[in-house]
């Protein structure tokens, strides 16, 4: 049996749902070639090429969702959301409250995110914490094809706006076009278990449910997306060093599965958040605050992207959370 690639896993779920639900329409720049398999099956009306006008077509996606469609709108990269975020932050996110609960915009925003292939900081941002700051937006970040399928299933049933983020190191079509470009002379640290899967589950993943990938008694590593694989690597190394580290894959940034986090962190008393989004005023802080709020006062460290992501590969590797940095953080935490 062939193994299923990350983006194909998502496309399959989308196709399956498009087949039964005529309300699902897809659009985005270059989408007819990027999602060519969907295009070949569903045609130009339901897989629409958009002009380079993110503000217009993301805004239109919100309007379309309000008027009965279920758009899956693609913004090529999270970085480009900056030119269109009004549609999400001031419109999609606020509709339910402003309308007194009478109107919602069921909208999936599919976005490539993340770095690790040398494209620099205007093309490698993650921004999930930035998006989750806005009340009313759901944000999910799968770390493997099975979860990607399960989360897309959930997203297509979600009754409000949800951002579905696809890490470029996991999504072959993006990595190929942006990083490799047909070359055999470049290498990327692609987590094999993240990029391909043996088979896909038929279930959805309920909103805000993390996955416990590894139990651990000494400390808890919390991450999402590619960071999960770096965390797993670190945990294996720690095991060799006699330290038992658990690994939690958040999968969903908003809502956050605090129950899961509390349970594990309460046990280990030590937590390291590994976040490819920016360090400050984001996900890692939120986890700290919620733990403290629930009376858990752990030893805490975080490994995140601190500053603009630089271009050169050796600088980029240092800027993004990597296994060495995670191990450092763990060791420091274990000493205290």
């Amino acid at each position: 049996m062939t193994r299923v690639a990350f983006a194909d896993a998502i496309d399959e779920v989308v196709a399956e749902r498009m087949a039964s639900d005529p309300r699902i329409v897809i659009f985005g720049e270059d989408i007819q070639l990027i999602r060519r398999n969907l295009y070949a099956r569903f045609g130009a009306r339901r897989v629409r090429n958009a002009p380079i006008s993110e503000a217009a077509f993301l805004g239109a996606a919100v309007g379309a969702a309000m008027a009965g469609l279920r758009p899956v709108v693609e913004i090529m990269m999270a970085d480009f959301l900056t030119v269109a975020v009004d549609a999400l932050a001031n419109h999609a996110a606020k509709l339910e409250t402003f309308s007194g609960g009478t109107w919602r915009a069921p909208l999936v925003v599919r976005v490539a995110c993340g770095g690790g292939y040398g494209d620099a900081g205007q093309h490698e941002q993650s921004l999930w914490g930035w998006l989750a700051h806005i009340p009313g937006l759901a944000v999910v970040v799968p770390s493997n094809p099975a979860d990607a399928a399960g989360l897309m299933r959930m997203a297509l049933d979600h009754d409000g706006p949800i951002i579905f983020m696809e890490h470029k190191l996991l999504s072959e079509i993006w990595l190929e076009s942006l990083g490799r470009g047909g070359r055999t002379t470049v290498a990327f640290d692609v987590p094999a278990a993240g990029a391909r899967a043996e088979r896909l589950p038929r279930e959805w993943i309920p909103p805000g449910t993390a996955a416990v990938l590894r139990a651990g008694t000494d400390l808890t590593l919390v991450s999402l997306g590619v960071g999960v694989h770096r965390a797993l690597e670190a945990a294996e190394e720690l095991e060799r060093q006699g330290v038992s580290a658990g690994v939690i894959d958040l999968r969903s940034v908003s809502p956050l599965d605090m129950e899961c986090l509390r349970e594990h962190v309460a046990r280990t008393g030590r937590v390291v958040v590994i976040d490819e989004d920016y360090l400050g005023f984001g996900l890692s802080g939120e986890i700290a605050a919620r733990l403290l709020e629930s009376g858990i006062r752990p030893r805490f460290a975080r490994v995140a992207t601190d500053g603009t992501i630089p271009y050169a590969r050796h600088l980029e590797i240092e800027a993004l959370p990597n296994t060495a940095r995670i191990l450092d953080a763990c060791h420091q935490l274990l000493e205290t």
């Binding site: 239109a60 309007g63 379309a64 009965g68 009004d86 419109h91 007194g100």
Partner: protein, 344 residues
């Protein structure tokens, strides 16, 4: 179908009287925040909204009241929304800039320019789910300098969306004379994106009706988007309490307290050349006059529509007393306390 001038006038009057009440309630402090009325825009709204069908959608800007009333939103619920009541249209959560009537596919926004993409989206949904239905976007001429409506025009053209973009051009955006911040002219601008474009006098409800009829027909027939540039005047200025208006009406009261700091600042040692300072002072002192000149020389769309009805004074009189009475009743009902509805 020829315009039913009686029905149009009634719709306009209903809106005018309702907004006059809103103005009172706002003045009494029962409505909070800003309040942008659509007084002066009624002909534009009536000429277009009166031709909408079930399944058509409306994307409205910060002056949403007239269009919503004409579309058939419950006026009591609307007023209660302004009053911030639990039994308001949006349970008190939206207020006058964020009004939502899902069953009518009508939504408003306080973000200038955002109605362009929103209407494009409504139109996309119509294309898929309700063939023959259309979406209408309302916005001001100032909004046409935002990227969003410009991008939306283009999107609507290339996707051939059934949408009518309606630019209500009152020449002013808050305190700015829009021609001073707008290059070229807006009809050319819309046309350059490939949208079918008409320019009309927005105080003439029949002219609006006819233009809209053509545009809506095109949209329903799948011929794509159009753009209506309709000129009008905002009779109550930008919003209630508008300083430019107040300054023109009571110059001493409004400009008086400004004078001393202004003069003191203008006379400071370092700064622009004298000429430039004088220009600025003159601009500041006269801008309110310029802004209100339009209002003083206004053509009130209601007066204009009424002219055509004077031939039947009995019918006119009865219509006017009926609408007035109904409006009073609406206000009375709206102000009644409802159980479980905290009073503002």
């Amino acid at each position: 179908m020829p315009a039913d001038v009686w029905a149009l006038y009634e719709a306009m009057l209903r809106s005018r009287l309702f907004e006059t009440e809103v103005s009172q309630l706002w003045g009494r402090g029962l409505i909070s925040g800003e309040m942008h009325l659509g007084t002066g825009e009624e002909a534009i709204c009536a000429g277009i909204v009166s031709q909408l069908h079930d399944g058509d959608a409306l994307a409205l800007d910060h002056r949403a009241t007239p269009a919503l009333l004409m579309r058939g939103v419950n006026p009591v619920a609307l007023l209660r929304e302004f009053l911030g009541r639990e039994d308001g249209l949006c349970r008190g959560h939206g207020g006058h800039m964020h009004l939502f009537a899902p069953e009518l596919l009508a939504a408003s926004t306080g973000i200038v320019g955002a109605t362009g993409p929103m209407a494009a989206g409504f139109a996309l949904a119509a294309q898929h789910l309700r063939p023959g239905c259309v979406a209408v976007a309302f916005f001001g001429e100032g909004a046409m300098n935002e990227g969003a409506p410009l991008e939306a025009l283009n999107l609507a053209v290339v996707w051939r969306l059934p949408v009518v973009f309606v630019c209500k051009d009152n020449d002013w955006s808050i305190t700015t004379h829009s021609p001073s911040t707008t290059g070229g002219n807006l009809a050319d601008r819309a046309r350059s994106f490939g949208a079918y474009t008409v320019e009309i006098d927005g105080t003439d409800v029949s002219a609006v009706y006819d233009a809209a009829e053509a545009c809506l027909q095109r949209a329903r027939a799948g011929a794509g988007p159009s753009f209506i540039l309709a000129r009008c005047t905002h009779l109550d200025g930008h919003y209630l309490g508008d300083t430019l208006l107040a300054a023109a009406r009571q110059p001493m009261r409004v400009l008086g307290p400004m004078a001393l700091p202004l003069a003191r600042s203008a006379l400071q040692l370092h700064g622009a050349a004298l000429r430039e300072r004088l220009d600025a002072l003159v601009d500041i002192l006269t801008r309110s006059r310029r802004a209100t000149a339009a209002i003083r020389q206004r053509v009130d769309p209601l007066d204009r529509a009424r002219q055509n009805l004077l031939a039947d004074p009995v019918r006119l009189n009865s219509l006017e007393s009926r609408v007035a009475a109904e409006t009073r009743a609406i206000v009375e009902v709206a102000l009644e306390s409802a159980s479980g509805s905290p009073q503002p």
